[in-house]
Protein backbone atom coordinates (compact mmCIF):
# COMPACT_ATOMS: atom_id res chain seq x y z
CA UNK A 1 0.00 0.00 0.00
CA UNK A 2 1.42 3.35 -1.00
CA UNK A 3 0.66 6.49 0.92
CA UNK A 4 2.27 9.87 0.39
CA UNK A 5 2.45 12.66 2.93
CA UNK A 6 2.58 16.27 1.87
CA UNK A 7 4.36 18.10 4.69
CA UNK A 8 3.52 21.61 3.50
CA UNK A 9 -0.20 20.90 3.24
CA UNK A 10 -2.65 22.50 5.64
CA UNK A 11 -4.42 19.13 5.97
CA UNK A 12 -3.42 17.19 9.12
CA UNK A 13 -1.31 14.08 8.48
CA UNK A 14 -3.84 11.55 9.80
CA UNK A 15 -6.47 13.10 7.54
CA UNK A 16 -4.14 12.86 4.53
CA UNK A 17 -3.58 9.14 5.18
CA UNK A 18 -7.30 8.43 5.74
CA UNK A 19 -8.24 10.21 2.51
CA UNK A 20 -5.68 8.25 0.48
CA UNK A 21 -6.70 4.86 1.85
CA UNK A 22 -10.36 5.69 1.36
CA UNK A 23 -9.65 6.73 -2.21
CA UNK A 24 -7.71 3.55 -2.95
CA UNK A 25 -10.61 1.48 -1.63
CA UNK A 26 -13.18 3.48 -3.62
CA UNK A 27 -11.23 3.12 -6.87
CA UNK A 28 -10.56 -0.57 -6.30
CA UNK A 29 -6.77 -0.24 -6.00
CA UNK A 30 -7.34 -1.89 -2.63
CA UNK A 31 -9.81 -4.78 -2.95
CA UNK A 32 -11.98 -6.30 -0.20
CA UNK A 33 -9.90 -8.86 1.65
CA UNK A 34 -6.57 -7.18 0.83
CA UNK A 35 -4.28 -7.02 3.84
CA UNK A 36 -3.01 -3.62 4.95
CA UNK A 37 0.29 -3.23 6.84
CA UNK A 38 0.32 -3.32 10.64
CA UNK A 39 0.34 -0.07 12.61
CA UNK A 40 4.03 -0.54 13.40
CA UNK A 41 4.99 -1.35 9.82
CA UNK A 42 3.11 1.57 8.30
CA UNK A 43 4.44 3.97 10.97
CA UNK A 44 7.98 2.83 10.18
CA UNK A 45 7.45 3.02 6.43
CA UNK A 46 6.08 6.58 6.55
CA UNK A 47 8.23 7.72 9.50
CA UNK A 48 5.04 8.81 11.22
CA UNK A 49 4.06 8.48 14.89
CA UNK A 50 2.37 5.15 15.66
CA UNK A 51 -0.48 6.87 17.46
CA UNK A 52 -1.30 8.79 14.29
CA UNK A 53 -1.55 5.52 12.35
CA UNK A 54 -3.59 4.01 15.17
CA UNK A 55 -6.02 6.91 14.89
CA UNK A 56 -6.26 6.35 11.12
CA UNK A 57 -7.00 2.64 11.54
CA UNK A 58 -9.55 3.28 14.29
CA UNK A 59 -11.40 5.77 12.18
CA UNK A 60 -11.38 3.54 9.09
CA UNK A 61 -12.61 0.65 11.21
CA UNK A 62 -15.43 2.77 12.58
CA UNK A 63 -16.38 3.62 9.02
CA UNK A 64 -16.25 -0.12 8.25
CA UNK A 65 -13.70 0.46 5.49
CA UNK A 66 -11.16 -1.73 7.31
CA UNK A 67 -11.84 -4.70 9.51
CA UNK A 68 -9.71 -6.77 11.88
CA UNK A 69 -9.49 -10.41 10.90
CA UNK A 70 -8.34 -12.77 13.60
CA UNK A 71 -4.99 -14.26 12.70
CA UNK A 72 -4.31 -12.21 9.60
CA UNK A 73 -4.36 -8.63 10.85
CA UNK A 74 -6.27 -5.77 9.30
CA UNK A 75 -7.94 -6.20 5.92
CA UNK A 76 -10.11 -4.13 3.59
CA UNK A 77 -13.78 -4.78 4.36
CA UNK A 78 -16.48 -5.56 1.82
CA UNK A 79 -17.89 -2.25 0.70
CA UNK A 80 -20.65 -1.16 3.01
CA UNK A 81 -20.32 -4.46 4.80
CA UNK A 82 -22.57 -4.79 7.82
CA UNK A 83 -23.69 -1.19 7.57
CA UNK A 84 -27.31 -0.39 6.91
CA UNK A 85 -28.16 1.94 4.05
CA UNK A 86 -29.09 4.61 6.60
CA UNK A 87 -25.63 4.33 8.22
CA UNK A 88 -23.86 4.51 4.88
CA UNK A 89 -25.90 7.56 3.90
CA UNK A 90 -25.08 9.22 7.18
CA UNK A 91 -21.34 8.71 6.62
CA UNK A 92 -21.57 10.25 3.16
CA UNK A 93 -23.77 13.11 4.37
CA UNK A 94 -21.16 14.12 6.95
CA UNK A 95 -18.52 14.40 4.25
CA UNK A 96 -20.78 16.18 1.78
CA UNK A 97 -21.67 18.73 4.42
CA UNK A 98 -18.05 19.94 4.41
CA UNK A 99 -18.23 20.27 0.64
CA UNK A 100 -21.53 22.13 0.80
CA UNK A 101 -20.12 24.61 3.32
CA UNK A 102 -17.12 25.27 1.08
CA UNK A 103 -19.37 25.66 -1.97
CA UNK A 104 -21.56 28.23 -0.20
CA UNK A 105 -18.54 30.10 1.13
CA UNK A 106 -17.00 30.18 -2.32
CA UNK A 107 -20.27 31.22 -3.90
CA UNK A 108 -20.85 28.18 -6.12
CA UNK A 109 -24.54 27.88 -7.11
CA UNK A 110 -26.32 24.73 -5.97
CA UNK A 111 -26.81 23.30 -9.46
CA UNK A 112 -23.13 23.65 -10.25
CA UNK A 113 -22.14 22.04 -6.95
CA UNK A 114 -24.37 19.08 -7.80
CA UNK A 115 -22.73 18.90 -11.25
CA UNK A 116 -19.32 18.82 -9.59
CA UNK A 117 -20.35 15.91 -7.37
CA UNK A 118 -21.65 14.01 -10.39
CA UNK A 119 -18.41 14.65 -12.25
CA UNK A 120 -16.27 13.38 -9.35
CA UNK A 121 -18.50 10.32 -9.08
CA UNK A 122 -17.99 9.53 -12.77
CA UNK A 123 -14.21 10.03 -12.58
CA UNK A 124 -13.87 7.60 -9.68
CA UNK A 125 -16.15 5.02 -11.31
CA UNK A 126 -14.12 5.14 -14.50
CA UNK A 127 -10.86 4.75 -12.52
CA UNK A 128 -12.39 1.82 -10.70
CA UNK A 129 -13.30 0.18 -13.99
CA UNK A 130 -9.75 0.64 -15.21
CA UNK A 131 -8.19 -0.93 -12.10
CA UNK A 132 -10.38 -4.03 -12.39
CA UNK A 133 -8.79 -6.93 -14.25
Amino acid sequence: MFVRIEPSSSVPIYRQIIDQIRYQVATGVLQPGDRVPSVRALAGQLAVNQNTILKVFNELRNEKILRVERGSGTVVAQSGQSMTLAERKKTVATLLREGAIQAIQLDIPKEQAVDLLQMEYEIILSEKKRSQP
Binding site: S10, P12, I13, R40, A43, A47, N49, Q105
Partner: protein, 302 residues
Protein backbone atom coordinates in the same frame (compact mmCIF):
# COMPACT_ATOMS: atom_id res chain seq x y z
CA UNK B 1 3.46 14.62 43.08
CA UNK B 2 5.31 15.59 39.98
CA UNK B 3 6.74 12.36 38.79
CA UNK B 4 4.29 10.16 36.91
CA UNK B 5 5.82 11.72 33.83
CA UNK B 6 9.18 10.86 32.30
CA UNK B 7 10.27 14.50 32.32
CA UNK B 8 8.76 17.19 34.43
CA UNK B 9 9.85 20.83 34.43
CA UNK B 10 8.41 23.44 36.79
CA UNK B 11 9.06 27.16 36.61
CA UNK B 12 12.59 26.75 35.37
CA UNK B 13 14.57 29.98 35.08
CA UNK B 14 18.07 30.49 33.84
CA UNK B 15 20.21 33.46 32.91
CA UNK B 16 23.70 34.11 31.61
CA UNK B 17 24.64 37.13 33.71
CA UNK B 18 21.85 39.60 33.20
CA UNK B 19 20.55 37.94 30.08
CA UNK B 20 17.42 35.93 30.85
CA UNK B 21 17.50 32.78 28.75
CA UNK B 22 14.64 30.81 30.29
CA UNK B 23 11.67 32.47 31.89
CA UNK B 24 9.50 30.20 34.05
CA UNK B 25 9.48 27.24 31.68
CA UNK B 26 7.11 24.42 32.67
CA UNK B 27 6.65 21.18 30.74
CA UNK B 28 5.38 17.66 31.29
CA UNK B 29 6.51 14.80 29.07
CA UNK B 30 4.38 11.70 29.32
CA UNK B 31 6.12 8.35 29.59
CA UNK B 32 6.51 6.61 26.24
CA UNK B 33 5.57 9.68 24.24
CA UNK B 34 7.51 11.55 21.58
CA UNK B 35 7.79 15.18 22.64
CA UNK B 36 8.69 17.79 20.02
CA UNK B 37 10.48 20.81 21.48
CA UNK B 38 10.39 23.59 18.92
CA UNK B 39 11.99 26.97 18.76
CA UNK B 40 14.06 29.29 16.63
CA UNK B 41 17.82 29.43 16.99
CA UNK B 42 18.59 31.06 20.32
CA UNK B 43 15.16 30.43 21.83
CA UNK B 44 16.69 28.45 24.72
CA UNK B 45 16.23 24.84 23.57
CA UNK B 46 19.81 23.72 24.17
CA UNK B 47 19.93 25.54 27.51
CA UNK B 48 16.78 23.69 28.63
CA UNK B 49 18.33 20.38 27.60
CA UNK B 50 21.59 21.14 29.39
CA UNK B 51 19.62 21.90 32.54
CA UNK B 52 17.78 18.58 32.15
CA UNK B 53 21.13 16.80 32.09
CA UNK B 54 22.58 18.77 34.98
CA UNK B 55 25.23 20.35 32.76
CA UNK B 56 24.06 23.79 33.88
CA UNK B 57 22.76 25.06 37.22
CA UNK B 58 19.24 26.51 37.24
CA UNK B 59 18.65 29.93 38.81
CA UNK B 60 15.28 28.74 40.13
CA UNK B 61 12.63 26.15 39.45
CA UNK B 62 12.94 22.40 39.36
CA UNK B 63 13.07 19.48 37.00
CA UNK B 64 12.87 15.71 37.26
CA UNK B 65 14.13 13.32 34.62
CA UNK B 66 13.09 9.72 35.11
CA UNK B 67 12.34 10.58 38.71
CA UNK B 68 15.83 12.00 39.38
CA UNK B 69 16.78 15.59 39.93
CA UNK B 70 19.55 16.53 37.49
CA UNK B 71 20.48 19.54 39.59
CA UNK B 72 21.40 17.46 42.62
CA UNK B 73 22.02 14.07 41.02
CA UNK B 74 23.44 14.67 37.53
CA UNK B 75 25.40 11.40 37.30
CA UNK B 76 22.32 9.23 37.84
CA UNK B 77 20.40 11.22 35.23
CA UNK B 78 23.19 10.88 32.68
CA UNK B 79 23.37 7.13 33.23
CA UNK B 80 19.64 6.65 32.77
CA UNK B 81 19.20 8.99 29.82
CA UNK B 82 20.39 8.64 26.22
CA UNK B 83 21.64 12.00 24.98
CA UNK B 84 22.62 13.26 21.58
CA UNK B 85 24.14 16.73 21.64
CA UNK B 86 23.56 19.33 18.97
CA UNK B 87 26.25 18.85 16.33
CA UNK B 88 27.91 16.26 18.54
CA UNK B 89 31.69 16.23 18.19
CA UNK B 90 33.47 13.00 18.94
CA UNK B 91 37.16 12.17 19.07
CA UNK B 92 38.02 12.32 15.38
CA UNK B 93 41.22 10.28 15.69
CA UNK B 94 39.40 7.28 17.13
CA UNK B 95 38.11 4.49 14.94
CA UNK B 96 34.37 3.81 15.12
CA UNK B 97 34.95 0.54 16.98
CA UNK B 98 37.31 2.27 19.43
CA UNK B 99 34.85 5.00 20.34
CA UNK B 100 32.14 2.36 20.82
CA UNK B 101 34.43 0.31 23.10
CA UNK B 102 35.53 3.41 25.00
CA UNK B 103 31.93 4.57 25.52
CA UNK B 104 30.87 1.11 26.69
CA UNK B 105 33.08 1.50 29.79
CA UNK B 106 31.02 4.50 30.91
CA UNK B 107 27.73 2.65 31.23
CA UNK B 108 27.00 -0.37 33.40
CA UNK B 109 23.93 -1.27 31.34
CA UNK B 110 25.69 -1.23 27.94
CA UNK B 111 24.23 -3.92 25.61
CA UNK B 112 26.87 -5.32 23.30
CA UNK B 113 24.50 -7.45 21.18
CA UNK B 114 22.18 -4.54 20.61
CA UNK B 115 25.17 -2.42 19.56
CA UNK B 116 26.21 -5.03 16.97
CA UNK B 117 22.66 -4.98 15.68
CA UNK B 118 22.67 -1.19 15.39
CA UNK B 119 26.07 -1.14 13.63
CA UNK B 120 24.51 -3.33 10.92
CA UNK B 121 21.25 -1.40 10.74
CA UNK B 122 23.06 1.94 10.60
CA UNK B 123 25.58 0.63 8.10
CA UNK B 124 28.55 2.01 10.06
CA UNK B 125 32.14 1.35 8.94
CA UNK B 126 33.71 0.14 12.19
CA UNK B 127 37.32 0.48 11.01
CA UNK B 128 36.94 4.06 9.76
CA UNK B 129 38.24 7.00 11.75
CA UNK B 130 35.47 9.19 13.17
CA UNK B 131 36.81 12.33 11.42
CA UNK B 132 36.36 10.66 8.01
CA UNK B 133 32.64 9.88 8.54
CA UNK B 134 29.99 11.67 6.53
CA UNK B 135 27.50 13.89 8.32
CA UNK B 136 24.87 11.15 8.09
CA UNK B 137 27.21 8.46 9.46
CA UNK B 138 28.29 10.79 12.23
CA UNK B 139 24.66 11.33 13.26
CA UNK B 140 23.98 7.59 13.22
CA UNK B 141 27.08 6.91 15.32
CA UNK B 142 25.97 9.54 17.84
CA UNK B 143 22.52 7.92 17.94
CA UNK B 144 24.07 4.51 18.48
CA UNK B 145 26.14 5.84 21.40
CA UNK B 146 22.99 7.41 22.87
CA UNK B 147 20.96 4.19 22.61
CA UNK B 148 23.56 1.53 23.46
CA UNK B 149 22.77 1.43 27.18
CA UNK B 150 19.04 0.95 26.42
CA UNK B 151 17.85 4.13 28.12
CA UNK B 152 14.14 4.59 28.91
CA UNK B 153 14.42 8.30 28.07
CA UNK B 154 16.26 9.73 25.08
CA UNK B 155 17.03 13.41 24.64
CA UNK B 156 17.92 14.52 21.12
CA UNK B 157 19.14 18.08 20.64
CA UNK B 158 18.39 19.11 17.06
CA UNK B 159 19.65 15.75 15.81
CA UNK B 160 18.83 16.23 12.14
CA UNK B 161 20.65 19.55 11.80
CA UNK B 162 22.55 19.53 8.52
CA UNK B 163 21.19 16.20 7.27
CA UNK B 164 19.96 15.88 3.71
CA UNK B 165 16.25 15.03 3.23
CA UNK B 166 16.88 11.30 2.77
CA UNK B 167 19.10 10.95 5.85
CA UNK B 168 16.61 13.05 7.79
CA UNK B 169 13.70 10.78 6.92
CA UNK B 170 15.80 7.72 7.78
CA UNK B 171 16.61 9.29 11.15
CA UNK B 172 12.94 9.97 11.88
CA UNK B 173 12.16 6.39 10.92
CA UNK B 174 14.71 5.22 13.52
CA UNK B 175 12.98 7.38 16.13
CA UNK B 176 9.71 5.58 15.37
CA UNK B 177 10.95 2.01 14.98
CA UNK B 178 13.78 1.92 17.54
CA UNK B 179 12.32 4.21 20.18
CA UNK B 180 8.58 4.76 20.01
CA UNK B 181 7.90 1.11 19.16
CA UNK B 182 9.91 0.09 22.25
CA UNK B 183 8.10 2.44 24.58
CA UNK B 184 11.05 4.81 25.03
CA UNK B 185 10.26 8.43 25.90
CA UNK B 186 11.76 10.81 23.33
CA UNK B 187 12.49 14.50 23.88
CA UNK B 188 13.31 15.86 20.44
CA UNK B 189 14.30 19.46 19.82
CA UNK B 190 14.17 21.08 16.41
CA UNK B 191 13.58 24.38 14.71
CA UNK B 192 11.46 22.80 11.98
CA UNK B 193 7.79 22.21 12.70
CA UNK B 194 7.27 20.16 9.54
CA UNK B 195 10.00 17.79 10.65
CA UNK B 196 8.66 17.26 14.13
CA UNK B 197 4.95 17.11 13.33
CA UNK B 198 4.83 13.60 11.81
CA UNK B 199 6.72 11.99 14.69
CA UNK B 200 5.61 13.90 17.78
CA UNK B 201 2.64 13.15 20.05
CA UNK B 202 2.93 16.51 21.75
CA UNK B 203 4.60 19.76 20.74
CA UNK B 204 5.84 22.70 22.77
CA UNK B 205 6.95 25.94 21.13
CA UNK B 206 9.64 27.91 22.95
CA UNK B 207 10.12 31.55 22.02
CA UNK B 208 12.74 33.79 23.65
CA UNK B 209 12.83 31.63 26.74
CA UNK B 210 9.07 31.30 27.17
CA UNK B 211 6.71 28.49 26.27
CA UNK B 212 4.16 30.04 23.92
CA UNK B 213 2.25 26.88 23.05
CA UNK B 214 1.94 23.27 24.16
CA UNK B 215 -0.53 20.92 22.63
CA UNK B 216 -1.37 17.67 21.01
CA UNK B 217 0.14 17.54 17.52
CA UNK B 218 -3.11 16.73 15.71
CA UNK B 219 -4.94 19.56 17.38
CA UNK B 220 -2.29 22.10 16.54
CA UNK B 221 -3.47 22.50 12.94
CA UNK B 222 -7.14 21.95 13.44
CA UNK B 223 -8.18 24.97 15.40
CA UNK B 224 -5.94 27.67 13.96
CA UNK B 225 -7.36 29.78 11.11
CA UNK B 226 -6.53 32.96 9.26
CA UNK B 227 -9.10 35.47 8.03
CA UNK B 228 -8.67 38.07 5.35
CA UNK B 229 -10.97 40.93 6.26
CA UNK B 230 -11.76 44.39 4.99
CA UNK B 231 -12.75 45.91 8.33
CA UNK B 232 -15.33 48.57 9.03
CA UNK B 233 -13.88 51.91 10.19
CA UNK B 234 -12.89 51.93 13.87
CA UNK B 235 -13.40 48.20 14.34
CA UNK B 236 -10.88 46.68 16.69
CA UNK B 237 -9.88 43.23 15.45
CA UNK B 238 -7.17 43.03 18.10
CA UNK B 239 -9.92 42.69 20.71
CA UNK B 240 -11.13 39.34 19.39
CA UNK B 241 -10.56 36.29 21.55
CA UNK B 242 -7.62 33.98 20.93
CA UNK B 243 -5.92 36.30 18.46
CA UNK B 244 -2.35 35.38 17.58
CA UNK B 245 -1.66 38.04 15.04
CA UNK B 246 -3.22 41.00 13.24
CA UNK B 247 -1.48 42.41 10.19
CA UNK B 248 -2.82 45.48 8.38
CA UNK B 249 -2.09 46.27 4.79
CA UNK B 250 -3.79 48.44 2.19
CA UNK B 251 -7.04 48.67 4.13
CA UNK B 252 -7.21 44.90 4.58
CA UNK B 253 -6.41 42.89 7.66
CA UNK B 254 -5.01 39.42 8.14
CA UNK B 255 -6.28 38.04 11.43
CA UNK B 256 -4.85 34.78 12.74
CA UNK B 257 -6.84 33.10 15.52
CA UNK B 258 -5.70 30.19 17.64
CA UNK B 259 -9.17 28.86 18.38
CA UNK B 260 -11.99 29.53 15.96
CA UNK B 261 -15.61 28.94 16.86
CA UNK B 262 -18.82 30.07 15.21
CA UNK B 263 -18.77 32.95 17.68
CA UNK B 264 -15.38 34.06 16.39
CA UNK B 265 -16.75 34.01 12.86
CA UNK B 266 -19.81 36.05 13.88
CA UNK B 267 -17.64 38.56 15.70
CA UNK B 268 -15.38 38.96 12.70
CA UNK B 269 -18.32 39.25 10.35
CA UNK B 270 -19.73 42.03 12.51
CA UNK B 271 -16.51 44.01 12.14
CA UNK B 272 -16.08 43.37 8.45
CA UNK B 273 -17.19 45.69 5.74
CA UNK B 274 -16.96 43.30 2.85
CA UNK B 275 -16.77 39.55 2.47
CA UNK B 276 -14.25 37.67 4.53
CA UNK B 277 -12.08 34.76 3.52
CA UNK B 278 -11.10 32.00 5.90
CA UNK B 279 -8.14 29.72 5.33
CA UNK B 280 -6.23 26.95 7.10
CA UNK B 281 -2.49 27.44 7.61
CA UNK B 282 0.45 25.26 6.76
CA UNK B 283 3.00 24.43 9.43
CA UNK B 284 5.47 27.17 8.68
CA UNK B 285 2.69 29.71 8.95
CA UNK B 286 1.52 28.20 12.24
CA UNK B 287 5.03 28.34 13.73
CA UNK B 288 5.42 31.92 12.54
CA UNK B 289 2.06 32.93 14.01
CA UNK B 290 3.10 31.70 17.47
CA UNK B 291 6.64 33.04 17.36
CA UNK B 292 6.28 36.45 15.74
CA UNK B 293 2.54 37.01 16.18
CA UNK B 294 1.69 40.31 17.89
CA UNK B 295 -1.37 38.85 19.67
CA UNK B 296 -3.38 41.81 18.48
CA UNK B 297 -1.48 44.08 20.87
CA UNK B 298 -0.20 47.42 19.66
CA UNK B 299 -2.48 47.19 16.67
CA UNK B 300 -4.37 50.42 16.10
CA UNK B 301 -8.09 50.00 15.54
CA UNK B 302 -8.85 50.20 11.83
Amino acid sequence: MMSENAISIRDLCFSYGRKHVLDHVSLEVRQGSVFGFLGCNGAGKTTTIQLLLGLLKARSGQCLVGGHNPQTDPMTVRQTVGYMAEDQTMYGWMRVEQIIRWSSTLYPTWEADYVQDLIKQFDLPVKARVKTLSKGQNTRLALLLALAHKPAIVILDDPTLGLDPIARKAFLRHVITLLQAEGVTVFFSSHLLYEIEPVADTIAILDRGRIVKTGHTDQLRESIRRFIVTPKPASDLGKLEHVLDVTQQDGQCLVTCEVVTDQTRLAIRAMADREIQECALNLDEIFEAYVIGNHGREVAPC
